[in-house]
């Protein structure tokens, strides 16, 4: 339990550092990729919802250290995006397939950015923040979801190649009724 927690924490810190200090040096629009969000989506949909929520909380808190946004916006948006895709996954999707992951990944990426904007708007509305809201449609709603989906696809196929879960299973004559 503790070892599992420490491994997850270490992995999360590495990913966070890559996100803030490595990816950010890359040219636009590649730098718009959100690794923390991508991993949280993958874990929520493919591995375990509870673990995905912990990832959203941990990853969000890490990003809060470096973002200028009002404290909590990033983490709340991440957690709410994970809750939404879990609701959709539980009620409208039949299995943990590649297509489910892609659709839910797209929904989560768009929801996350929408929630960040919404929280910023609400803070301005209730005069809790005077920071002007900057909105870049192409960056937040086109490029970031696109790169998130590319990385999700890479993680999906890497994960299933290494865990062997993607192997085709055929009915053998012996197994037929």
């Amino acid at each position: 339990m503790i070892i599992n927690f420490l491994i997850n924490l270490l992995f999360l810190l590495c990913l966070g550092i890559v996100q803030v200090s490595f990816l950010s040096t890359w040219p636009s629009p590649v730098s718009s990729l959100n690794l923390i969000l991508t991993l949280a989506i993958f874990i929520t949909v493919i591995i375990d919802y509870d673990q995905g929520l912990y990832w959203a909380l941990g990853g969000g808190l890490f990003l809060e250290l470096y973002t200028h946004l009002f404290f909590g916006i990033t983490t709340l948006s991440l957690i709410l995006a994970m809750i939404l895709i879990n609701v959709l996954f539980s009620n409208f999707f039949t299995n943990r397939s590649f297509y489910s992951l892609m659709i839910l990944g797209l929904i989560a990426s768009l929801t996350y950015n929408l929630l960040v904007l919404l929280f910023q708007f609400l803070l301005v509305l209730f005069k809790l923040s005077a920071e002007p809201i900057f909105f870049d449609f192409k960056f937040q709603f086109v490029w970031q979801p696109f790169f998130n989906l590319v990385i999700l696809a890479v993680i999906f196929f890497t994960f299933f190649t290494f865990t062997g879960r993607l192997k085709s299973v055929f009915l053998t004559p012996a197994s037929r009724p």
């Binding site: 550092i17 490595f22 950010s24 040096t25 890359w26 636009s28 470096y66 709340l76 957690i79």
Partner: protein
């Protein structure tokens, strides 16, 4: 009933934890932990950032070579290998050279400054801002100018934590800086960042001649920002006959994307 409610317990607990953390954050209870985390991670981030910048530079170097013929490919590979092998040494040399230039400039103008390393960039895609490894404990304050090179201004401090700070770069859309063009009339205006891509100087009087190639510098009208810090060179001028003002587009004299060391100019009142 939605299956969601079966798994809602943990979601509600985590949201409650998050609201508690927000509450504690604004009571400054979490501040020591946040500062400790930044302090612990800064050395790792510094190395990761330098590696990222090097790979980025290498990528552009390799991409630009794609037009060369096959006969040059072997040589290019050797150059790339040598670039990688010498990258760390080069980075250190460049940093030292940069620091020497900055120190020389500061000494000549009798300014005092805080040397800082860039440890990351703001993760938000719409914000062009760098994260520095010096903060409140080192004397950094909001709105202090950040110098990139020999008297060239890179941006302004926008946020300060105990041992780190954030500087908004000149071409960020939120950046505003009082400036003047070095022409006969010393035309004054305000330099705005444009979508993280370019610099635009507004409010230049129509009656004053602004020409391509003239240099724009800080006007000294802003508190904490001395006059004469170089912003950029006039690249294009647009003057409409029905307007009081003309607009100039500036080209920065240095590349702001791959800064590794900067100087934060202290306010004269702090000396």
């Amino acid at each position: 009933m939605f299956k969601f409610f079966k798994t809602a317990r943990l979601s509600i607990i985590l949201l409650a934890v998050m609201f508690l953390l927000i509450f504690l954050h604004y009571l400054n209870v979490l501040l020591p932990a946040e500062n400790l985390a930044i302090w612990l991670l800064a050395p790792i981030q510094q190395r990761v950032y330098a590696a990222g910048a090097r790979i980025n530079n290498l990528y552009f170097a390799v991409a630009s070579q794609s037009e060369l013929t096959k006969s040059n490919q072997r040589l290019e590979q050797e150059v790339a290998n040598l670039t990688v092998a010498n990258a760390e040494l080069k980075t250190r040399l460049e940093e030292s050279h940069e620091l020497l230039l900055q120190n020389d400039f500061l000494a000549r103008h009798d300014y005092t400054a805080i040397a800082a390393r860039v440890i990351g960039k703001n993760p938000e895609p719409t914000r062009q801002a760098i994260i520095l490894n010096k903060g409140r404990q080192d004397g950094v304050k909001v709105n202090l100018p950040v110098l990139a090179s020999n008297g060239v201004i890179a941006g302004k401090i926008s946020q300060v934590k105990a041992n780190s700070s954030e500087a908004v770069l000149l071409y960020d859309s939120r950046s505003r800086i009082a400036a003047l063009v070095q022409n006969d009339a010393k035309s004054k205006g305000v330099v705005f960042g444009e979508h993280g891509l370019s610099l635009k100087m507004n409010f230049l009087p129509q009656t004053e001649a602004v020409k391509i190639g003239q240099i724009a510098v800080t006007s000294g009208l802003e508190a904490n920002i001395p006059a004469g810090l170089v912003i950029g060179k006039v690249q294009r001028v647009e003057a409409e006959s029905n307007s009081f003002f003309q607009t100039a587009w500036l080209a920065p004299l240095i590349k702001l994307d791959d800064l590794t060391v900067v100087s934060i100019l202290k306010s004269p009142n702090d000396n």
